[in-house]
Amino acid sequence: MVSSSQIQKKAMERAAVRDINTHGDIQLICFKLGAEAYGLDIMQIKEIIRHQKITVVPKAPCFIDGVINLRGMVIPIIDLRKRFELQASGHLRNRIIIADVENRIVGLVVDDVTDIISVSKTNLLPPPKMIKGTEATYLGGMIDIEGGFLFIIDLDKMLTAEEKGSLDVPLEK
């Protein structure tokens, strides 16, 4: 068991490293939902694991699918397909990205993690203007890649304050 103070320390350290990187490139983890490619800042990611059985928790907030047990830690799981209102197609959801959203550990169900890329900040494009509402808030930008655009998701903005609050309630086993 890693104590909370240690986690806090690590987070602080990471934030410091991120500030160093702000001047140059950012590293993105690319993943797929159906045919579309998305990117997440590598600094927000803790690790990537295989998909495993998700235990449904009664009376849990509706945006949480359930929880998994990762080396003794109970981690809430969010299905990004549902979140992005994508149709549930035949693609396998075979990876879970363990991410750190403002010191809250959550798991994100995706189809596949394909690559890690480095992008210069100058190459970032603003999100399309036709997207409005909540969706527009968490699209941090997009990048022109071979065969289309890669949407960069800002995890901190993806969850509403209310949702973040509900995650503060410990979901211990």
């Binding site: 350290e13 990471r14 160093i20 990187n21 590598i42 990611i45 990537i48 890690i116």
Partner: protein, 831 residues
């Protein structure tokens, strides 16, 4: 275990394949495991240690910050709070240091251990000074002293600790880099090996297996199929040529032996057929001779009849002469009696008497000559009877010959039947061979199924490799994430982890390629299963064929059975005829005996007649004596009378003999009639035999057609031509015998057709033959055939038209028969 068995070959191929895949898989697996271990080590030890060092650094600065804050703080409560915090951090640092030092002391090198020990010493000094001097100073309010210590020696110690920690991080990183270099190398080797192994499998195993499948299955099966097809069409002139020592090779050898047996049988049958044809011709000829003999016999009988009638007439003449003689004798007797009664009248009548005696003498001489004629007539009869007898003996001999031929035919038929049975037996042998192949094919099918199963297992193993590659990919991804989050320190990690990720992706690609290859092999196995199925179908066809062959052979056997029966009938009929002619011979012997008796009687008569003549001479002498001494004669007239009585008696004896002779002549006539009847019967028998011979010929034709179904190569085809030439010969002989002009023309036309056919076939054979020996034989055959043809067209046919039948026959049966024999010999020597 024999290496050339198909089953064993497939097993060996499969084993080699398994071995290749197994070695590749093992090396892949162990290399990946090694790489995984390196990564794990890197992650577990160096990265964790490095992170721990960083954390330690942060804690140290924290402790120092807290202490500085505590120094500047006036409130005691707050001081305590800071102190508590310092204590907590100190405990954490101590714990970590102890843990760090003790836990991994064995795996680290000396330099690193010295560093850690150094760090521990400095830290202990730092802590001791803080706890024993600075903190008491702070609590006592000696802020200046505390600050002096803190910024003096403590600051230097702090800097030393930070330096040591940084050095540690660097060393860990260097170690990790070395590990990663090793794993990179290993990965390169692994990929290289994967490519080389795939290439080896693709370049060696697949062509080899394709070649083996083609050479050991498809080609021999196609050959067998072609051969079976040819056999169905009746062509058994070729051998199957499969060199393989496999089951298929064995099968083809069995098949070849069976076909060789069949070929021998058919050749023997053909030989027998020609012999039989010859035998039938001989029978025909014998029947012809017999018929002629019967006709001669009939003619001779007519001659005998005529002679007997003549004899009869002569006998009647003799009888008439005798009557006259008797009458004359009676007249003489009365005259002598009158002479005795009137002795005086005697003298005057002596002259008359002399004249009368002279007359008598002449009459007697006439009788004698008649008797001689009769004797010669009897001789004629006797000769005729002898001739008849000889003719009958000839008939008997020819009948015996026929019987012999018939018996020979029966023997030949028996041989044919035996050979056919052998043929059936060899076909059954073929059947056994087919059964063996069937078994072999089914065992091959089982082996292939096993192969299929094993290749599926290989697929499973490849799946495991794929899973390991995926796992490595995931690990590498996580390593990259951690490395990039470590910032500048993690940059080296990040690069290596990226490379590992790429390598794992390439591994995944090559496992997918292996899966593709395994799928291809499975497809080929399916093809093999299909071709084995085809093989089974062909074996079944072969079985059907051999049973058809059995049917054909049984048909030949049946035909020969009928032929045998017919030959036996001929033998029986000939025997009957033989016994008939023996009876005739016996009867003729009886006639001859009778004739001899007659001749004897006539000789006796002749002697008597001579005696009479002598007596008459004496009488003449007496008459002259009478003339001289008439009176003396009167006395002797009694003697004369008695002599006359004797004479009369003798004449009466002759008369009796004559009547006997007549009776015997009648008997001869009856016997001759009987002989005639028998001759007619003999002729009927001949006709019957002729019919039988023609039926026999029809049977032979049917047999010939049956045999012509089989193609036997060049020599056998030449033999067929010989049969045609034989046919031409028999037609020519028939034409010679034929008296009807129109029918003879029909024969000539047929002969011309057959001859041109022979010419055409011989030319074709000569053009199509490549074997020098066969070409030489056909050339010589052609030469003799041309001579044969020339003699026939230029001489025999001309002779027939001129009516010189005998000369034509002599040519046909002489030099032409010799040429035909030469042609037969030419072929038989070589066959």
């Amino acid at each position: 275990m024999k290496l050339h068995h198909l089953k064993v070959k497939i097993y060996i191929g499969f084993m080699v394949f398994l071995l290749l895949i197994g070695i590749g898989t093992y090396i892949h697996y162990s290399s990946l495991k090694e790489v995984n271990g390196f990564l794990q080590e890197m992650y577990d030890e160096h990265y964790t240690a490095s992170m721990l060092a960083v954390t330690q650094k942060a804690r140290l600065s924290d402790v120092r910050a807290q202490l500085l804050a505590m120094t500047g703080e006036a409130d005691k409560d707050k001081k305590d709070k800071y102190h508590a915090r310092i204590k907590e951090l100190t405990r954490e640092i101590d714990d970590n240091l102890t843990q760090w030092f003790e836990k991994d002391v064995k795996v680290r090198d000396v330099k690193m251990n010295a560093l850690i020990r150094n760090l521990q010493t400095v830290w202990n000094n730092f802590r001791t000074m803080r706890d024993t001097q600075i903190i008491p100073f702070i609590y006592d309010g000696k802020i200046q002293e505390a600050k002096a210590l803190a910024f003096g020696i403590q600051a230097e110690r702090y800097k030393e600790m930070i330096r040591l920690t940084d050095e540690l991080v660097k060393m860990e990183e260097q170690e990790a880099r070395e590990l990663l270099d090793i794993s990179k190398e290993t990965f390169k080797e692994l990929i290289l090996f994967g490519i080389v192994a795939s290439l080896v499998i693709v370049l060696i195993y697949l062509p080899l297996s394709y070649y083996t499948l083609r050479k050991d299955f498809s080609e021999p099966l196609a050959d067998l199929s072609d051969h079976a097809k040819r056999m169905t069409e009746g062509d058994i002139s070729h051998d199957i040529k499969i060199d393989a020592r496999s089951e298929l090779g064995e099968y083809s050898r069995h098949m070849n032996e069976a076909v060789k047996g069949m070929k021998e049988i058919i050749l023997k049958t053909k030989g027998l057929f020609i012999n039989m044809d010859e035998a039938v011709k001989k029978i025909g000829h014998s029947v012809f001779v017999m018929k002629k003999g019967s006709e001669d016999q009939a003619r001779d009988m007519t001659d005998v009849s005529t002679s007997v009638e003549e004899l009869h007439k002569i006998a009647r003449d003799i009888a008439r002469g005798m009557d006259e003689l008797l009458k004359l004798s009676e007249g003489t007797s009365s005259s002598i009696l009158e002479m005795a009664a009137s002795i005086e009248e005697v003298d005057s009548n002596v002259a008359d008497l002399t004249v009368a005696v002279g007359d008598t003498s002449a009459s007697i001489q006439e009788i004698a000559s008649s008797l001689k004629e009769m004797a010669s007539g009897i001789d004629n009869i006797s000769r005729g009877a002898d001739e008849t007898s000889t003719a009958l003996v000839q008939i008997d001999a020819s009948a015996k010959e026929i019987e012999n031929h018939a018996r020979q035919s029966v023997k030949l038929s028996n041989e044919v039947a035996k050979e056919s049975e052998r043929g059936v037996m060899s076909v059954e042998l073929t059947h056994v061979g087919m059964e063996k192949i069937k078994e072999a094919v089914s065992s091959i099918a089982i082996v292939i199924e096993e192969l299929d199963k094993r290749s599926k297992e290989i697929g499973k193993i490849v799946k495991v490799i794929d899973d390991v590659a995926m796992e490595t990919n995931l690990l590498a991804l996580n390593a990259t994430i951690l490395a990039s989050q470590a910032g500048e320190h993690g940059k080296g990690f990040s690069v290596v982890a990226d490379e590992i990720r790429e390598l794992s992706e390439r591994t995944a690609v090559s496992t997918r390629e292996i899966t593709g290859i395994v799928l291809g092999i499975q497809g080929q196995i399916q093809n093999a299963v299909a071709s084995v199925g085809e093989g089974t179908v062909k074996v079944v066809e072969g079985e059907k064929l051999s049973s058809e062959t059995t049917l054909v052979l049984r048909g030949i056997m049946g035909r020969f059975k009928g032929f045998q029966d017919m030959s036996l009938e001929i033998a029986k009929a000939t025997q009957e005829q033989s016994s008939g002619s023996r009876q005739v011979t016996q009867n003729i012997e009886v006639i001859t005996n009778t004739l001899h008796q007659m001749a004897k009687a006539i000789q006796e008569q002749s002697q008597s007649a001579d005696q009479i003549a002598k007596t008459v001479e004496k009488m003449e002498k007496l008459a002259s004596l009478i003339r001289k001494a008439t009176t003396e004669q009167a006395g002797e007239s009694k003697t004369i009378a008695s002599n006359t009585g004797k004479m009369m008696k003798a004449i009466q004896e002759i008369d009796t003999a004559c009547s006997n002779q007549e009776k015997e002549s009648q008997q001869i006539s009856a016997a001759v009639v009987e002989t005639s009847a028998r001759a007619t019967k003999g002729m009927e028998n001949s006709r019957m035999m002729e019919e039988m011979v023609s039926v026999l010929k029809q049977e032979m034709d049917a047999l010939k057609q049956g045999l012509e179904r089989f193609k036997l190569g060049r020599i056998s085809m030449v033999m067929l031509e010989l049969n045609t030439i034989n046919e031409i010969r028999s037609m020519l002989l028939a034409a010679i015998e034929e008296k009807d002009e129109q029918k003879r023309d029909v024969y000539a036309h047929k002969i011309k057709d057959l001859s041109s056919r022979v010419d055409r076939n011989l030319a074709e054979l000569l053009a199509g033959s490549k074997d020098e020996k066969i070409v030489a034989i056909i050339k010589e055959l052609k030469l003799i055939w041309n001579e044969f043809k020339h003699t026939r067209d230029a001489q025999i046919i001309r002779l027939i038209h001129e009516g010189k039948i005998q000369e034509a026959k002599d040519l046909a049966l002489g030099i032409q028969a010799e040429r035909y024999g030469k042609m037969v010999a030419l072929l038989y020597v070589d066959v």
